[in-house]
Subunit: 526 residues, 2 copies
């Protein structure tokens, strides 16, 4: 039987330590649900003792009755030096988070006990043991995070082992071996993990950082030598060079090493989950990311493409679709019709995978992607583009003209937009002011259209993101991504242009058209 490896994702805790990473509460809840849907076993969602915002997140998750499949984990420190575990505010906050599992971290490196904690080695062991015992007494499962374990083992293996022993004897369920500084060689991790597994009758977890570029290797090495749980972040978010990247670790474990990990079919959602979380973090999956990057199966060399045409196995080490990715040929554009097939089944059930229209759609989307569009996270625009190309898109309005004036701000509403819009045979001219040109334009277009489409009143923009795609500086191409809501449903649209106003205009008008189209369908008129 293949060994089952548990997955713990710490994007919301250790991942949030990454430079430039900052999640709102809504972002965090989105990420919990995305990880849950992917099938990770444990979601470490924050440190409720150190951060009131994390405490509020746990309270909110408890109110929503948490994720469906995954188990929530709260992270925090042992009790303080000289303090009683029963009476420690940090441990109390962990209990109050209502998380069923606590990742309790303690020092395993004597150097840190001396230099940072500045307590005796015995007191450190007491803090670990008492804290674990207290949490267990309160009905929590405890994973003991042995901070700096590998550095500690290198200088004083007996003491590093004694910290694990203190946690195990007090009732910890998992021993987590951490390479906190990311400075350990992966080869060492196997040997040391095997040693821990030999001495303890508890599942062991491995927690690596990528400071040497070896986090994936170290994690696999530890599993090979007995670790039963891998810890990391989906996309490698994390302090300095990031945590071990689960997007690399999981497919390696499953496809290259034959372990079991996540419900089987879920691996096909790996790439889209990674892109979704990156989008929430307002970043993007690096094109060259192993397994899930846009370029991970992109073939450019002439000889490589020649080989691929003869047999895909010549230059692809796995089937890209097994992780939800796809092959791309950068010189001779070839069809990825399969990707569109599921969409078309709903939108245009009369079209077949091998029909001429499907081929034309593939060509159109490839060209749009070349311009910087991504439709992965913009279903609304994707649907409108498909219907448009098939001449099945209804036009609800046309913006004949607009201009926007923005001034040096004296008060917030410093921008004025003028619009001229046609609906049927009627033309409406109006204006509105707003906070910035895009807001003013959005408000003016809605004002002009509300007379014709009163349902628009209930909708509003929920999120608005801009980023440069390819090129450099403010003059290069930008992608505007908009999320809209009517309070119940939400939908996303996208626009790309050299010009941020035009990109915003495309995404805004797509958003309104998509809403009107769905409104009409809902009312049975479509």
């Amino acid at each position: 039987m293949t060994r089952l490896i548990e997955v713990l994702d710490t994007t919301l805790r250790d991942g949030a330590q990454g430079e430039g990473v900052s999640f709102s509460r809504e972002d965090k809840i989105k990420i919990v649900h995305a990880l849950d849907a992917l099938g990770v076993d444990y979601i470490e969602a924050g440190n409720p003792a150190a951060s009131p915002r994390d405490a509020a997140l746990f309270a909110e998750l408890a109110r929503q009755s948490g994720p469906a499949h995954a188990t929530l984990v709260a992270f925090g420190a042992t009790c303080r030096a000289g303090a009683n575990a029963d009476n420690d505010p940090g441990l109390r906050a962990l209990i109050e988070s209502e998380a069923p599992v606590i990742s309790l971290f303690g020092k395993s490196w004597r150097f840190h006990v001396d230099e940072v904690l500045k307590v005796s080695v015995e007191e450190n062991l007491r803090m670990i043991g008492d804290s674990v015992a207290y949490l267990v007494k309160c009905g929590r499962r405890v994973f003991f995070d042995a901070e700096h374990f590998f550095d500690g083992y290198a200088t004083d293996p007996d003491y590093a082992m004694a910290t694990l022993r203190a946690a195990a004897d007090a009732g910890a369920e998992r021993l987590v071996l951490c390479d906190t500084n990311g400075g350990g060689l992966s080869g060492e991790f196997g040997r040391i993990t095997a040693e821990v597994c030999a001495q303890f009758d508890l599942p062991v977890a491995i927690h690596c950082h990528n400071d040497l570029g070896l986090a994936t290797a170290g994690t696999l090495e530890a599993v090979q030598h007995g670790a039963d749980q891998v810890q990391g972040t989906l996309g490698g978010f994390g302090e300095r060079c990031g945590n071990a990247d689960l997007c690399q670790i999981i497919p390696n474990l499953v496809f290259k090493m034959g372990f079991q990990c996540l419900p089987d079919d879920n691996l096909r959602a790996l790439a889209s989950s990674a892109r979704y979380i990156a989008e929430v973090a307002n970043t993007s999956v690096p094109a060259n990311a192993p397994f899930v990057g846009r370029s991970a199966f992109a073939h450019k060399g002439g000889m490589h493409i020649d080989g691929m045409v003869k047999n895909r196995r010549t230059f692809e080490h796995i089937d890209p679709e097994s992780v939800g990715n796809r092959s791309r040929y950068l010189i001779s554009e070839m069809a990825g019709r399969g990707a569109l097939a599921t969409r078309l089944a709903a939108l245009a059930p009369d079209l077949r995978k091998d029909s001429a229209e499907t081929g034309d759609l593939v060509v159109m989307f490839k060209a749009l992607e070349g311009e910087g569009y991504t439709f992965e996270d913009a279903d609304g625009s994707l649907e409108l583009r498909i219907l448009g190309a098939l001449n099945r898109r209804e036009r609800f309005f046309e913006v004949l003209d607009f201009h926007v004036i923005s001034r040096k701000p004296d008060d917030a509403r410093n921008s004025q937009a003028y619009v001229k819009i046609q609906v049927g045979n009627e033309v409406e001219i109006t204006a509105e002011e707003g906070n910035g040109p895009v807001n003013a334009l959005d408000l003016a277009i809605r004002k002009a259209l509300t007379r014709f489409y009163p349902a628009l009143k209930a909708t509003r923009l929920q999120d608005f993101k801009v980023r440069v795609v390819g090129g450099s500086g403010t003059a290069s191409r930008v992608r505007v991504h908009i999320e809209s809501t009517d309070g119940t449903n939400s939908w996303a649209t996208v626009g790309v242009s050299e010009n941020v106003i035009e990109a915003s205009f495309i995404a805004l008008t797509d958003s309104i058209e998509y809403m009107l189209m769905n409104e009409k369908r809902k009312n049975g008129e479509g």
Copy 2:
């Protein structure tokens, strides 16, 4: 004595296969000189048989009498099936490149011999042997690139070894073991490399790709088991997920494993060399890149910063300066006075951690973070805000007024900006047009200021990001993050407002002021 490991960089050959990578001849010559200055042993500069542009590059390098320290390498295929090596146009092009070393690639995987070459296994061995012998006869040193060696060894080890034997017997100087598809597990590479080293009395090279996220691990594993040359690209450029990244491999070999590699002091130029090559490639070193990334030694967690202040070794696995990088303390809500104090040490050494001004600064930054600012990735604005609060910020200009008009786009340059700027007692009024309001405003401000500060001409915006922070829709608060460069250094600034134009205006003017302040310091006037 420590073993000396040779370095071969293939940025210009295999690296150029990366998606979006495209080097002009001038770019390539710049990169050759940068690699040469860093001290790599071999520079694989292209495939003169397959590309006339590469042939012209070798001719140009020969005319310039090539790099000073490094040896140039030309890459190419064996002679064709059934063809005579003495009379093969591809081999002739390699000779004509005048490169002293030829990387000659041949098939080591039977599957490829059958499916791609479609020749007999004997003919493949003949092609390898004859081609090597011919090049050696012409006075060239030959490195034999055993393509797909590890895949070949896994399915037919005897045949894979026979291809190496054919090359060795014909006079090859190095046997290069390639994981061309990047699909091999690093653990295997050690065992197989040891087997090759045992059977051949020739130096062995290792050439990995990063499709599993294991290129660094595989390379180190092979060196540990006897390989004497590492191949990769400085920055990990390359097809799909990239080649093995020499920025990771070299410091691991030297600092973690005790090998010798590059002239000693040159490692201090690693980070700047990587940034320079990335800049030439019109990309940038990822912030989280091990060793050389901007975040590689950036500390954000409060407990980590506390530890670092007590002893840097607590959270840094090497001295960042040994690879030309530096420690950074990120100011975020997670950290407090400790992080700020490390900044103040450089900016205002007279202030203490417990002085009243420091307390005021902490309060100010907490308020700004509440508004949606994050300074952890905006060093420029952070510094300006600190100096401003201490009344130590010099004002180089004041924007008295501006307005921007944006129209429904007919062509890209649809926005016009008017600005009125004061410098000292002089007032400059001017205008500019651009692609969108922010671009137009940026260009107009620079136009007005260049008369006073000509150094501004050399600077440009490199990246521009917008995201909504807290709140909802286009009318909510937005954060604009800008990265600027003068070609050598780069710096980041940030602005937050309900209004995207104002947020951009803050980040833009911060960027210019920060540059002018540093320019003045550099000229010893500050």
